[in-house]
């Protein structure tokens, strides 16, 4: 076969994105050459020009190549540039394809807030010409000054990874993209306050580095998925539709969480070294209808002192979360169930109606007897329990008590081998 129908060549080419493949295609045949201008995507990987390294600085040549390929792709919808480039050229490139560009992904290597080519504004200002942009993703950018984007009405998804920000800048960025449905800010740092309002936002993922206290104020009535890491104080306007919620703080403390009733929540994930008990109990109260709960908070307390969890009444807890299907508990929370008073209240009528899977991480042999009693209680009062996983991680006190406890856990497993397994 030495001939392919024209539509077929176009279709094959449209599946190619890598600039190297597109460049090779230009040399295959006249027919292929004529189809290259219609490619919808161009992707310049990090090392796309590396083969040509001969010691001389060909940076400007590579930028010229990028410019030429963008100019030739008259219907370009998606542009991804991971290789190094001179940000002053960005404006020219975007102007060429402002009418067709829907997806733009750039690796900025720390640029962004430096003055633009004409000496004013920032290097990211030129993005404002891409009025049809629906998805924008920027890696490694400096956002200490807000880029002037006007209003990007079509922008539905904004992802910024690895950014240094200043208070207020994010608010302006969000202001310029009022119709966002998806907002992702990962590995960001520098802010003390993150505050914004988005009427159409459905998915939001915010990850801020650092030990300090960062506050979040968020209003998003259509919000369904929220993942936040790094905030010590979280306020979400009630009347959201949150179904999946994850709150983590890898360093430092969570002081308070206010978000009103989580009426539609299905999955809740809490993680951190230290949370104030007020914050934990607020969230647990809001999430009374939760079905999947993961608690991986190690300590409580409002100050430098790390405190254990206060006693949590087993019966009350499960009665206030009747829809629980799957429960994943880290040591500290489990230990708080295992207090004498908590277990004393368990009577034979008590039922945990829906729970099917429990996963417990046990880290110490303290209160061994109570821990085993708690496990037994869980088993006895959970009619639908299919699986109980007990993860015994490195015991803090490596002495006989720990060995005994482990033996008891194994016995427990043997007695209930259909349901329990130990890892």
């Amino acid at each position: 076969m030495n001939y392919l129908p024209e539509g077929v060549v176009e279709l094959i080419l449209s599946q190619l994105k890598n600039a190297r493949d597109i460049a090779s295609s230009t040399c295959v045949s006249k027919q292929w050459q004529s189809c290259v201008p219609y490619v919808p995507s161009l992707y310049f990987p990090r090392a796309v020009f590396d083969y040509s390294q001969r010691g001389n600085n060909k940076g400007s040549d590579y930028d010229a190549t990028i410019g030429r390929m963008i100019a030739e792709a008259i219907r370009l919808e998606e542009l991804v540039i991971y290789c190094p480039f001179n940000p002053s050229n960005l404006g020219t490139w975007l102007n060429l394809r402002a009418d067709t560009l829907r997806v733009l992904e750039l690796r900025m290597d720390g640029f962004g807030d430096k003055p633009g080519p004409d000496g004013s504004g920032t290097q990211l200002d030129c993005i404002r010409v891409a009025k049809r942009l629906e998805l924008l993703k920027i890696w490694g950018v400096s956002l200490t000054a807000a880029p002037k984007w006007g209003v990007l009405k079509q922008l539905k998804s904004l992802e910024i990874v690895g950014a240094t920000v200043r208070d207020g800048v994010l608010e302006e960025v969000v202001h310029a993209s009022p119709n966002l449905v998806n907002l992702v800010l990962l590995s960001c740092e520098g802010a003390g306050l993150v505050k914004f309002e988005l009427g159409r936002l459905e998915r939001c993922r915010l990850d801020f580095l650092g030990q300090g206290n960062i506050a979040l104020f968020l209003s998003a009535p259509r919000l369904e998925d929220l993942y936040v890491q790094g905030f010590s104080s979280i306020w979400v306007k009630p009347n959201h539709r949150i179904k999946t919620l994850s709150i983590a703080k890898n360093h430092g403390r969570v002081y308070n969480v206010e978000m009103g009733k989580l009426a539609e929540v299905q999955s809740l994930y809490l993680r951190g070294i230290q949370w104030s008990w007020g914050a934990i109990s607020s969230v647990l109260q809001y999430a009374s209808d939760v079905t999947h709960l993961t608690m991986k908070v190690e300590f409580c307390g409002n100050s430098e002192t790390l405190l254990p969890f206060p006693e949590v009444d087993l019966v009350n807890f499960f009665n206030s979360h009747p829809k629980l299907l799957k429960f994943d508990i880290h040591g500290a929370m489990f230990a708080s169930f295992c207090q004498k008073n908590s277990l004393a209240k368990v009577n034979s009528n008590f039922v945990i109606p829906c729970l099917e899977e429990v996963s417990v991480i046990v880290r110490s042999a303290l209160n061994a007897e109570q821990k085993l009693n708690a496990l037994e209680s869980l088993l006895t009062h959970t009619p639908k329990l299919r699986k109980m996983v007990i993860r015994v991680s490195q015991m803090k006190n490596c002495n006989e008590a720990a060995d005994d406890f482990f033996e008891e856990v194994c016995k427990f497993r043997l007695m209930n081998h259909r349901v329990v397994c130990v890892e």
């Binding site: 076969m1 279709l11 599946q15 493949d21 460049a23 090779s24 230009t26 295959v28 045949s29 190549t65």
Partner: protein
Amino acid sequence: MADNGGKKITLKSSDGEEFEVPEVVAMESQTIRHVIEDVCAKNSIPLLNVNSKILSKVIEYCKKHVAAAEAAASKASTEEGTAAAASVTKPSDEDLKTWDAEFVKVDKGTLFNLILAANYLHIPGLLDLTCQAAADMIKGKSAKEIRKFFNLKNCISPEEEEEIRRENQWAFEEEKRTRAFDAYA
């Protein structure tokens, strides 16, 4: 899939073999759909550009996709609550994708013929699938290798080729290196 007495159509391959298929399966091909709808009821449709080996593969694809669509539609209407329905149709979406991936694991010649057949018969899903498979096979290849893969004649004049190479120097560096090796091989 239930062959429950729906109307059947006979498709005749270029080498004379006849395939009887339910009309709904045959209508996955827009070309055949037009013949059935516009050119009044035909019981046997000759397909001069598709041989029996390829036609049987095409029919296999159409049968699978019609069945998958029917299964998804019936599950969605019988399951109570959209959440349950969504969790049921998702695995079958993935099953279909897996099936598609296996379907295109064929030799080059068969793949090309499938592309041409899907193009001639206007079966968009099959055309996308097979072109994607072909594209995956040429990723990373040089122009010369792509030409060889598709058995295409090089119709670009040497002068023009030289100019293109100069412009896309960076994309041809690796080819130059392998050429140098060839000289010593």
